[in-house]
Amino acid sequence: MVFSRCGRGEEPEPGMLEGETAIEVRHLTKRFRIPLQRNFTMYDRLSSFVHRKKAFYEEFDALKDVNIRLMHGDAVGIIGPNGSGKSTLLKLIAGVLYPDKGCVMVRGQVAPFLELGVGFEPELSARENIYLYGAIMGIPRKEIDRKYWDILNFAELRRFEFLKLRNFSSGMYARLAFSIAIQSNPDIMLLDEVLAVGDEQFQKKCMSKIEEFRHAGKTIVLVSHDLSSIEKICNQGILLQNGQVEATGSPEHVIEAYHRIMERG
């Protein structure tokens, strides 16, 4: 299963995704438009047209000519200051955003954990939401039937099977979401700051689950400000700054580079 997406009119370059490559990104550029004057309704469009105003917006390159190659079984930590393009990169790999220039290619089943509990319906019970979120994460229904109790047990929510989600605490909510999401059994996991889930005990469980995935040879891409968890999980690091790759290599090396940037201010 290969997913590829390029800027308009572009084709993936030959040689991309060669050998044991899981994710490859070449010349990736993502540009956002930040409107200075919002033209968000038909009324606005019409009035700015009548008054001969142009739609002013500023362009902002969230990623500039980024090249990355990740191998199967790698666990990669992406770090960088706020606004450096970490989440944008993850969203491009997940297929949520479309590149302006360059290409993204991914081999294998991807589970994006950009946010936990995407599509949860507060008015429905935990049981109904397990099936709903499971389907959203692409887990076949039979698989959910089979794993149903595993999910509730792992989340420690057996007793609340029929409780509506709107009565859940935020910790319970996140635990349920994480427990369902890990059942999707992906080849590649994209994690964006979602490890801060529940209490310390549950966080330990999550960590050991991720370790388990790692030993099973899955590819993990982790965006986090929590440098210690990156050091613990990852064997590779990428430092982004202002939309460009600033440093790559071992997590220790990249974290050191990150500290240097932060000290410089």
């Binding site: 297929g95 479309y98 950009l114 599509g119 008015e123 429905l124 389907a135």
Partner: protein, 253 residues
């Protein structure tokens, strides 16, 4: 095709949607059936004496109009907000976004099927004779579904960029109610305006429903042909509008 590939997801999104819609009260489901029924009563009382109704059973005529209109108005109104109201499923995960519009239309469609069921009961009560021509029902309905889904794709995509579209569409729907032959017979329209009047695809579908359910005839060929063409055009136009805007959904939402 995406409908088959994502069948599980479409199914569960639709069911969840219906559950949320109907479970807020035990009467939720009954209320939703009561709504068109009350509308029928009011409109019947007001309009049955208004003009010399040549229609034999005006009440059935009226109810076919109301029921079929409600699928269009509910289906398209749901579609307008279908992408924006599920913004999380657009910005945090990748699924074909058409699914969001599609499951919205399907859930309106299921509600409408229940109303059509009431309509069939009404046909029995008013002794409308049942004919084999009623078997055209699924075909006419398929055309109608295509029309609503095609329009819904365009509306849902455009609403991401124009956030007053829902209010504009509400006005279109209120005007459309009077521009379609719901509360009056088509014979009321002057002959020279008729060619323009019949361009409205909802009118065409409504008239076909009356032909097969009330008059016991097969749908007339011009109506059937035009309805099919309108559905195909709307589906193609809706998909291409949706397709050309989809890549910016996650940034604009």
């Amino acid at each position: 095709m995406w409908i088959f590939e994502y069948y599980d997801l479409i199914r569960i999104l639709t069911i969840s949607d219906l559950k949320v819609k109907y479970q807020s009260s035990i009467l939720g489901f009954l209320w939703s059936l009561l709504n068109p029924f009350l509308m029928l009563m009011v409109l019947y009382v007001v309009f049955s004496g208004m003009y010399d109704v040549s229609e034999e059973s005006f009440i059935v005529y009226l109810f076919i109009g109301i029921t079929s209109w409600r699928f269009f108005s509910n289906g398209t109104t749901t579609s307008v907000r279908s992408i924006v109201s599920k913004s999380n499923l657009v910005t945090k995960i990748f699924i074909p976004r058409k699914i969001l519009v599609f499951s919205g239309v399907v859930s309106s469609f299921i509600s409408s099927l229940l109303e059509f069921f009431i309509l069939f009961l009404l046909l029995i009560v008013f002794r409308v004779s049942f004919t084999l021509n009623m078997l055209y029902f699924p075909f006419v309905t398929l055309i109608y579904f295509g029309i609503v889904f095609g329009a819904g794709l365009a509306l849902g995509a455009l609403y991401v960029f124009y956030r007053d579209l829902d209010q504009i569409w509400e006005v279109v729907i209120s005007i459309g109610f009077f521009l379609s032959p719901i509360i009056y017979p088509v014979t009321l329209i002057p002959d020279r305006l008729l060619p323009i009047y019949m361009l409205n695809p909802v009118t065409v579908v409504m008239q076909m429903y009356r032909e097969i359910l009330l008059y016991g005839t097969a749908p007339s060929l011009p109506l059937f042909g035009y309805g099919t063409i309108a559905a195909v055009i709307l589906l193609i136009a809706g998909s291409s509008i949706f397709g050309s805007l989809e890549w910016r959904f996650a940034e604009e939402i």
